[in-house]
Every structure is written in structure tokens, then in C-alpha cells.
Symmetry: C2
């Protein structure tokens, strides 16, 4: 078991929460980072808080970074969230919910956080299979960022260590992610996936019709378990 710390990017969604639970299972102390970027599903940040607590994170930083200043995404601007798409269609194109350069921004912030804490591992819950087709969920993106991290930082330049980007979900589908979460003892009822919450605050309910709800439902169905978030509703 490692005794090291890792920065974990924690949106509060199924994937990032599973990634955090995996990292905890590997023995990492968790330094979680969540970003309020003007997402319409700000509800996920409440989940991030609950997940970080449930996993015993040693630190959970939540910062505001106004990506909605740039607009251009259904998640940050007055653009309709696609609904009721065929699961087979999801991932075949890059939908309106793509947020420009989001994972580059998030990983850069995670890198700043890691370097400031003397940590060299950053975990992110990206996966290439059930990822809505976002380009910044691909393995070549993650590798390119890892390379950047080792050129960008004083800690690497001074030989204190090498940065590693951990992407343990990369090759899992949603069913595999659900199974991994359960094997790590994560309470998936704490997580939040919906892009377009119905209602406000803690009382919000998932829409059930956006790509993220559809992928989540597909994952639970294929894993043969019921979704505690829905069951509780």
C-alpha cells in the first residue's frame, strides 16, 4: 500500500467518484479538487463534497474558475442540452455539452495544486468508451498532458520527481465503472451525473434524458444493479 498523497479531480460524477475510491483503495491519501466553472449542473459539487467526506479525503479544495465567461457549451451557456439520444449515437460525435479545453484547465489546476503540496500523482476519471466523444478524454490527451507537466514545473525541472497522470477508468465502460465503484465500497447514491437537474439544490432530481443520465442508466443496467440515486428519489 502506498502512503503517498494524490490529487484527485472530483466533479462529483460517477466517474470521478469511482476514480477517487480507486485511488483510496490503492492507499493514496486523497487531496481532492473540485471546480465550480459555471456548470448548469452545479448540483454535482454537493456530491463531490459528500464523496470526499465519505472517502476520508485529507483535503478537499473547491475553487471557482469561470469557464462560463467563454460560453460556447450547453453546460455553461444558454444552449439546449441534447436529450433522448440513442445510446449508440452517444460518443459518435462531439455534442453541445463539450466544454472547450475543460480537462486541460482542470488538469493544469490539479498540477498547480499537486506541485504546491509536493505531490506527483494526479488522478482523473476520464474514459474513452462512454465519454460522450469528448477529445480530452482520450489516452493520447492524457499522455500529452503528462509530458507537459514534466516540462512545466519547478519540481520536475529540479529533479524532485516525475508527474504521473493516473486514469484508471480509461479502458472501462460504464458497467465496468459501476462494478469497480462497488468493489471499492463507494456509495454511488452520493454521486451525481445529470447535466440538466430538475429542481434546485439538494432537492434536484436527474432529468433522465441527457447523455450523461443515459450512459449512467446503461452502465447500471449492464452491471445488473439498481442505481441508488434513482431508487432514493
Amino acid at each position: 500500500m502506498s502512503e503517498r498523497g494524490a490529487v484527485v479531480l472530483l466533479s462529483g460524477g460517477l466517474d470521478s467518484a469511482t476514480c477517487a475510491a480507486w485511488a483510496r483503495g490503492q492507499g493514496y491519501r486523497l487531496h481532492c479538487l473540485s471546480v465550480a466553472y459555471g456548470q448548469r449542473h452545479e448540483r454535482e459539487l454537493l456530491s463531490a463534497q459528500r464523496v470526499a467526506e465519505s472517502l476520508g479525503a485529507v483535503e478537499h479544495l473547491m475553487i471557482n474558475v469561470p469557464l462560463d465567461s467563454f460560453g460556447h457549451s450547453a453546460l455553461t451557456a444558454a444552449i439546449a442540452v441534447p436529450k433522448d439520444r440513442d445510446p449508440g449515437q452517444i460518443g459518435a460525435d462531439i455534442p453541445a455539452t463539450y466544454v472547450p479545453a475543460r480537462n486541460s484547465v482542470l488538469l493544469s489546476l490539479a498540477l498547480a495544486f499537486a506541485e504546491s503540496r509536493g505531490l506527483f500523482e494526479i488522478a482523473i476519471g476520464v474514459n474513452r468508451l462512454d465519454c460522450s466523444g469528448y477529445p480530452d478524454c482520450r489516452p493520447e490527451f492524457v499522455s500529452a498532458f503528462e509530458r507537459l507537466a514534466n516540462l512545466a514545473t519547478a519540481a520536475a525541472a529540479q529533479g524532485q520527481g516525475s508527474y504521473r497522470i493516473l486514469a484508471p477508468l480509461m479502458d472501462l465502460d460504464k458497467a465496468g465503472i459501476v462494478r469497480l465503484a462497488l468493489s471499492c465500497g463507494l456509495d454511488l447514491g452520493l454521486t451525481w451525473s445529470c447535466y440538466d437537474p430538475q429542481g434546485a439544490g439538494a432537492a434536484a432530481r436527474p432529468c433522465g434524458r441527457c447523455d450523461s443520465c443515459i450512459l449512467r442508466a446503461k452502465g447500471f443496467a449492464a452491471a445488473g444493479v439498481s442505481d441508488p440515486l434513482i431508487a432514493a428519489g
Copy 2:
């Protein structure tokens, strides 16, 4: 002359202002991005505003991104700014003014801005010679970010264009930067370099003793011109 737009990272310092003036001289419409990241020399943002106006920027976005949440730098935390260092010593080490992953964060934000505007060029005023030894001012860092940008984004993945990071100051020393600024008609009295301003707001004065003041003074002296910011004081 290009009729295209470019995103320009504009801190308000000598280098970024010269980079912006250069881009303007190349015919780019300027979409300037400035970031309030908790820097103790927030005074530079007033300069950014004045420079953007003087260059006729079509857009100037100023956003808050709290890098001071992470601390760890003399520019964002209660750590002393090094003073009175020998100019020959500056750049030989990585000083306390290094901000973890700052240029990675700034370029990622610029990339988000560029993609949201359909632009493919991002200009940054980094230079490797008189840069205080920061690792994220080196050409290999800039190349690695350019590579990342072309993997990270929907626009690149969909073949709409290729991102280019323009770093026109890379091989210039401070004297060369001063000369370039003057040849572009930039009013250098609008810019601000000091890390540790004495006094508040528009009335603040440069300390004259931090690395950034020393490098600036060296540049003006070597270019054989007087600094209008100091002359005005």
C-alpha cells in the same frame, strides 16, 4: 497582413504588452485575456486594461482564477519577494516568485477562450533569457502545450484548424523586448513589471528591487532608453 484574430495573454507586464503590440503589428485582431490569480502585484491588471485599450483590442476578458488557493509562491502567499539580487544571478535558479503551473493554467484558459471564439492562434510573451528561470517559459514547454492543444480540443479533432502558440519574444533579451515594443509604437509607460508594488491602486510605485524591476531596468539601460514608467514617478 492577417485579418485573423488571436488570443493574447496579457498580464500588463512589459513582455505580454510587447507580445500584444507585436501581434497587433502582424495584423491580428486582439482578443486579450487577463487573469486575476491572487497576485500581490494586482496593479499589473490596471496596466493590462490600459494596454488593451491603447492597442484597440476587440475584446478584453478579465477573469478571476484563485491560484492563491494553492499558495506556495511569493506572488500569491505570505512569502517574501526576493530583493536586490545580482542581475547575473537571476535565472540561475527558480526563485520563490515561481507560481506552480501558472503558464499551464493560463495557456489552458487561453485555449478555452480561443476555441470558444473559433480562433487558432494564442500569443504569449514568454522568453527564455530574462525570465527569472521559470521552467514554463522554455521553448520545449511551449511546444508541448501546442501539441496538447491539438489533442485536447473539439475544433482540432474535427479538423477545423490547428492551434499555434506564438511566442515572439522567446529568443529576445529584455533590451531586445524594449526595442521591439518601441518599434511597434507601444507606450511602455502603460506597462507594469514590479512584483511588490509600494502603495495601493493607481498610485502604487515599483519597488525597484525585485527581480522583475531589476530585469526591466537592465533592459531599458541596455536599450539606451529611459523607462517612462519610472520617469513619470
